[in-house]
Symmetry: C2
Subunit: 205 residues, 2 copies
């Protein structure tokens, strides 16, 4: 790209660092913003300054929040006896969108991955252990990815939490709802056969 | 999307207004920015505030610039007797990237499109006519899209400029270089047959 304006080039470069955005798309984004009112563009810039100033992590669950304790952790209508352990904030949003979970979360901030140099001490594992000290928590659900790293993290967590009287569970794995068998990978299909469930419990409620 | 943080939601919404960006991609962009240093995020926001403050349009050609007259128009090594008329700033970048054009540009800011309510008075046509008054310009190249609207605009411009002693030309249309005939649309292929050129002039220089 060969742009005449330095500040234009700078704006394009800022967009181009985003995942999946190249110089051409970035340029399209900038021209889109420039076509709007100047105050819209100012609002765009200000939003990210505010984001930098205001964003913080919930001191309980490490979700992103505007306050010290996030809306989920401070909501007394939610079930404080169940904690769902997830890798990052995106997973919280995915699970919240299902509207099937009324407990609390704990965001690890990653999973154990020796190849990437991420060990247990890099994750929010100690604060999770601390949350269980009070005895209020009755169940911890592991909702990590089913990769080698996810399984390793699950195993590590289960060892850390075994001294507490809590039920440990993981998400059910199997064929997608609405998914044809021919599109399901062998490993998932095989596991879903081994871990088959009684017909009655499979009926949607 | 069901985000706990208001400022996070606001940042996602700002990204989601960009062309081709949905809520999920926008959320991915925001999380990407949040993983960086706080000063990187501040720089991101500040860039767009500066863009709003600093960006202006060249008073000669209406290209985006940081100054009153853009780098292209003020470059004395460029050929000031040739003006290439384009629809928007993106076209300037496309042509500059070819490194085949050493003249000046004139950005119309759109093309005549009665269906979209865009008439000649909405475009930078009067300033183009004004640029020709000095008599310095010897050739005007129309580099607009080959749609009905582009052709209409070309025709309108040619009528406006006929009182001047300038050569009017348009981009050559034909089969893409490296493109197979089976992938060329009928209209282009037909025209490229009718407007065939002597073999010698087709050889790359």
């Amino acid at each position: 790209m060969n742009l005449v304006s330095k500040i234009l080039q700078q704006a394009v470069d800022e967009f181009a660092q985003l995942p999946g955005v190249g110089q051409k798309t970035a340029f399209r984004f900038v021209l889109h913003l420039l076509k709007k009112d100047p105050q819209e563009l100012r609002k765009f810039g200000n939003t990210f300054l505010q984001l930098q100033e205001q964003v913080q992590y919930c001191k309980e669950c490490f979700n992103i929040t505007d306050r010290e304790v996030c809306d989920i952790c401070s909501d007394q209508r939610r079930d404080h006896s169940t904690i769902c352990v997830v890798e990052d904030i995106r997973d919280v949003v995915s699970i919240e969108n299902t509207e099937q979970f009324k407990g609390l979360y704990h965001v690890l901030g990653g999973i154990i991955s020796p190849l990437d140099g991420i060990g247990p001490s890099d994750l929010h594992i100690a604060p999770l252990v601390e949350r269980l000290q009070s005895g209020e928590v009755k169940e911890v659900i592991f909702a990590l990815t089913t990769t080698m790293e996810g399984d390793t993290t699950n195993f590590y967590l289960s060892r850390q939490l075994q001294k507490f009287d809590v039920k440990l569970s993981t998400l059910a794995r199997g064929v997608s709802i609405g998914g044809g068998l021919e599109y399901t990978d062998e490993l998932t299909l095989g596991r879903s056969l081994v871990n088959r469930v009684p017909y009655e419990s499979s009926l949607a409620k």
